[in-house]
C-alpha cells in the first residue's frame, strides 16, 4: 500500500516572548492510502495544531511532510490553498457553514474555487448531499437545519471535491449521541468507498470507529495501536 501522508520529525514552535512554546515535538506519522486513523489526546495536547499542519493550513517550523508525494514544506500560500482545495476535505467541530447560503451553495463552494462550471457544480453538490441523506434539504439554510444535519452538509462539502484525505476535528463534539452515531455511520461509508480519513477526538468510543488510533500528549505522538 502506498502512503498518502508521510511526516518526519515535524515540530511546531510558537515564540512566546523570550522563550519558545513547543506545541508539536518531532512527530513521525505515516498514513496509508485508504486508512481510517484516529488521533486522540487530552485538551491542549496539540491535536488541532497537528490537524492544521496535516491540512496545510499551517506550515511546520521544521521537519518534512509529504502529502500524496508532494513536499508541502516549500509551498507558497497560493499553492497550499490549491492543495487544500483539491486534496483535503475539512470537517470542523462547529460545522463552519456559511449561514446566508443554502446547503447546496455551501457544498458547491469548494468546487467554485476549483473553477468547475456552475451546472456541474450544482450536480456534484446535489450528489454529495444525496450521499449524506440530505437530498430533500438542498435549499435549506443553516438556521433551518439541526446540528446533525449541518454536520452532514459539512461532510458533503468535504466530500464534493473527492478529497484524498477527509480531515475531521472533533466531528461529533457538538452533537448528541444519535446525530454523532449518524456521522460515524457516514464516515464508515466514506471509508468503505476508499477515502482516507483522519479524525481527531478525545472521545475513546468515537476513536474506536477507526482502524488505528494514535495518541498525542504534550505535542508528542506515541505509537499507534492497531485495531483488529
Amino acid at each position: 500500500m502506498s502512503m498518502i501522508l508521510e511526516m518526519h520529525d515535524i515540530c511546531k514552535d510558537y515564540p512566546m516572548g523570550k522563550s519558545v512554546l513547543h506545541v508539536l515535538n518531532n512527530i513521525d506519522l505515516s498514513v496509508e492510502q485508504g486508512e481510517y486513523l484516529a488521533i486522540m489526546g487530552p485538551s491542549g495536547s496539540g491535536k488541532t495544531t497537528l490537524m492544521n499542519v496535516i491540512g496545510c493550513l499551517d506550515t511546520p517550523t521544521s521537519g518534512s511532510y509529504l502529502l500524496d508525494g508532494v513536499d508541502v514544506a516549500g509551498c507558497s500560500d497560493n499553492k497550499l490553498a490549491d492543495i487544500r482545495n483539491k486534496k483535503i476535505g475539512f470537517v470542523f467541530q462547529s460545522f463552519n457553514l456559511l449561514p446566508k447560503m443554502t446547503a447546496l451553495d455551501n457544498v458547491a463552494l469548494p468546487l467554485l474555487y476549483q473553477g468547475v462550471k456552475r451546472k456541474e457544480r450544482r450536480e456534484r453538490a446535489a450528489e454529495a448531499l444525496e450521499m449524506v441523506g440530505l437530498g430533500d434539504r438542498m435549499n435549506f439554510k443553516q438556521n433551518q437545519m439541526s446540528g446533525g444535519q449541518c454536520q452532514r452538509v459539512a461532510i458533503a462539502r468535504a466530500m464534493a471535491i473527492n478529497p484524498g484525505i477527509l480531515l475531521a476535528d472533533e466531528p461529533t463534539g457538538a452533537l448528541d449521541s444519535v446525530s454523532g452515531a449518524a456521522v460515524m455511520d457516514l464516515f464508515h461509508q466514506i471509508h468503505e468507498r476508499g477515502t482516507t480519513i483522519i479524525m481527531i477526538t478525545h472521545d475513546r468510543s468515537i476513536a474506536e470507529h477507526a482502524d488505528r488510533i494514535v495518541h498525542i500528549r504534550d505535542g508528542i505522538l506515541t505509537g499507534g495501536e492497531f485495531d483488529a
Binding site: 491540512g55 493550513l57 499551517d58 497560493n78 490553498a81 475539512f90 456559511l98 446566508k100 469548494p110 474555487y113
Partner: protein, 416 residues
C-alpha cells in the same frame, strides 16, 4: 466576478439600513455635484442661446475704431471716413459664401423724445431696412409689416414689439395709435414678436445684463424715415445671417472685411463682427468659476463618504472573520477574497453614486421649477459620477479588502 456582484447585492440587501447609511455620504456628494453641474450647464446653454440666438445664427457687425477707443454709434453722426451702408452694399454682402441674409439699421438703446399721450416710452428705437425683421427672426402678431411705400415716401409709421406694447399700451389696442417722436406724430401699424429666444443685439458682456430685462421694449421705423426726427447721418450697424452656427465666425469676419472695404476710407475705423461665441464663453467662465468652488465642497463630502465606506467595510471584515477563514481553509486564494471585498465596496459605492445621480437630477429639476435656475442634465457627467463613485469604493475598500485577504485562516477559524 458576476457571482461576486450578485452576492454583493445580496449583502447590501441583507443590511439595508447600514448600507444606506454608508452610502449616504456618497449619495449626498454625488447629488450635490450633479445638481451643480446640471445648473452650470443649464446656465451656460442659456447664456449661449441668449447671445447667439437659438438657431438664429445672426452676427452683428459694428463700427469700431482701430485703436480701440470708444465709438458712439447711437447719438452722434457718422465718424469721419465712414460711409453709408445702403441697399447696394447689402446686395454686395449677399455674395459672401454661407451668408444667407443681411440688413442694416440705426439704433438708440434709450429712445429720447418718444411719447404716447403723456407717458414717455422708455426703451429702444431702431431705424431699419426692409430685411431687418426677417434676418432677426421677427414675426408679425397684429397689423402689418412695413411696405415699400413706407420706405420710399418716408412714411411716419412705426411697428412695436410685444414688450413695448405691454409697457406703453398696457393691454389697449395699439394699432392706429399715434405716438410722438421728437414732436412728430407716428402711427403704429403693427406689432411684432421675436421668435428666437432673445432678440437683443449684444455688443458686450455689459449689454447682456442691461438688455435682457430692464428695457421697455423696442419700436421700429423705416430707416428712410429716421431723419424726419433724428439725425440723417447716423452710423449704421449691420446684421448678417450665417447658414449655420459653425459658420457664424467666418461669415461675420468676411462681412466685416467687405464692409470696411466698401464704405470706410482711411484707417481710423473699421467694421468688426462681434464674436458672440467668445463672449458666451466669457460669461460661461464666470458662472463656472463660482460653481467650481461648490464642487470642491461637494468633493469633501465624497471623501467623508469614502472614509465611511472604509469604516463599514472594516467592520464587515471583522464580523465575517469566520466566513473568510472558512473560505480560505477550503481553498479560496488571497486574490479571490480581495476581489470579493473590493467588489462589495465598489458595488456599494456605485449604487450610492447611482442614487446620488438620480437625486441630483431630481434636485436640479426641482430647483429649476422652484427658483428658475435652468437645468440641463449632461449624460457624460452622470456616467462619470457613477464611475467615480466606483473608483472611490475601490480606493477606500482596498485597506479592508487587503486586511481580509491577509487573515490567517487558523486564527480566523479559532475566533468565535
Amino acid at each position: 466576478m458576476l457571482e461576486n456582484i450578485g452576492l454583493s447585492f445580496q449583502g447590501i440587501w441583507n443590511h439595508k439600513t447600514r448600507s444606506l447609511l454608508t452610502m449616504l455620504g456618497i449619495i449626498i456628494g454625488i447629488a450635490a455635484i450633479i445638481t451643480i453641474v446640471s445648473t452650470i450647464k443649464g446656465t451656460n446653454d442659456q447664456i449661449k442661446q441668449n447671445l447667439i440666438g437659438s438657431g438664429n445664427n445672426v452676427v452683428t457687425v459694428t463700427i469700431k475704431s482701430t485703436n480701440d477707443s470708444y465709438v458712439d454709434l447711437e447719438y452722434g453722426p457718422r465718424p469721419e471716413g465712414v460711409g453709408v451702408v445702403d441697399d447696394e452694399v447689402i446686395e454686395g454682402l449677399l455674395e459672401i459664401e454661407n451668408l444667407d441674409a443681411a440688413s442694416s439699421y440705426v439704433s438708440r438703446s434709450w429712445a429720447n423724445g418718444v411719447y404716447y399721450k403723456n407717458t414717455a416710452f422708455e426703451g429702444g428705437i431702431n431705424g431699419i431696412d426692409r430685411n431687418y425683421f426677417s434676418v432677426q427672426g421677427y414675426r408679425l402678431n397684429y397689423g402689418r409689416m412695413f411696405v415699400d411705400d413706407d420706405f420710399k415716401q418716408h412714411k411716419k409709421v412705426v411697428i412695436i414689439d410685444t414688450k413695448a406694447m405691454r409697457s406703453v399700451f398696457d393691454g389697449a389696442d395699439p394699432l392706429g395709435a399715434i405716438m410722438e417722436f421728437m414732436g412728430e406724430p407716428f402711427t403704429v401699424v403693427g406689432v411684432v414678436e421675436n421668435t428666437s429666444k432673445s432678440n437683443v443685439v449684444i455688443n458686450s458682456v455689459n449689454d447682456y445684463y442691461t438688455y435682457t430685462d430692464s428695457s421697455g421694449g423696442t419700436v421700429f421705423m423705416p430707416i428712410d424715415t429716421w431723419s424726419v426726427c433724428y439725425k440723417y447721418d447716423e452710423p449704421r450697424t449691420v446684421v448678417v445671417k450665417a447658414s449655420s452656427t459653425d459658420e457664424m465666425t467666418t461669415v461675420g469676419d468676411a462681412a466685416a472685411n467687405y464692409l470696411t472695404g466698401a464704405v470706410i476710407t482711411g484707417s481710423q475705423y473699421q467694421y468688426k463682427a462681434d464674436n458672440l461665441l467668445e463672449q458666451a464663453s466669457e460669461l460661461q467662465a464666470l458662472s463656472q468659476s463660482t460653481s467650481q468652488q461648490l464642487i470642491w465642497i461637494a468633493g469633501i463630502s465624497l471623501l467623508v463618504g469614502g472614509i465611511g465606506v472604509m469604516n463599514i467595510m472594516l467592520v464587515s471584515v471583522s464580523e465575517r472573520t469566520r466566513e473568510i477563514g472558512l473560505k480560505k481553509a477550503i481553498g479560496a486564494k488571497k486574490r479571490r477574497i480581495l476581489g470579493q471585498f473590493l467588489t462589495e465596496a465598489a458595488v456599494l459605492t456605485s449604487l450610492g453614486g447611482l442614487l446620488g445621480v438620480l437625486s441630483g437630477i431630481g434636485l436640479a429639476k426641482l430647483l429649476s421649477n422652484v427658483i428658475g435656475t435652468p437645468a440641463a442634465i449632461s449624460v457624460p457627467s452622470c456616467v462619470i459620477a457613477v464611475v467615480f463613485s466606483m473608483v472611490i469604493g475601490i480606493v477606500f475598500g482596498l485597506i479592508p479588502a487587503v486586511k481580509a485577504a491577509r487573515l490567517n485562516p487558523i486564527e480566523a477559524l479559532r475566533r468565535d
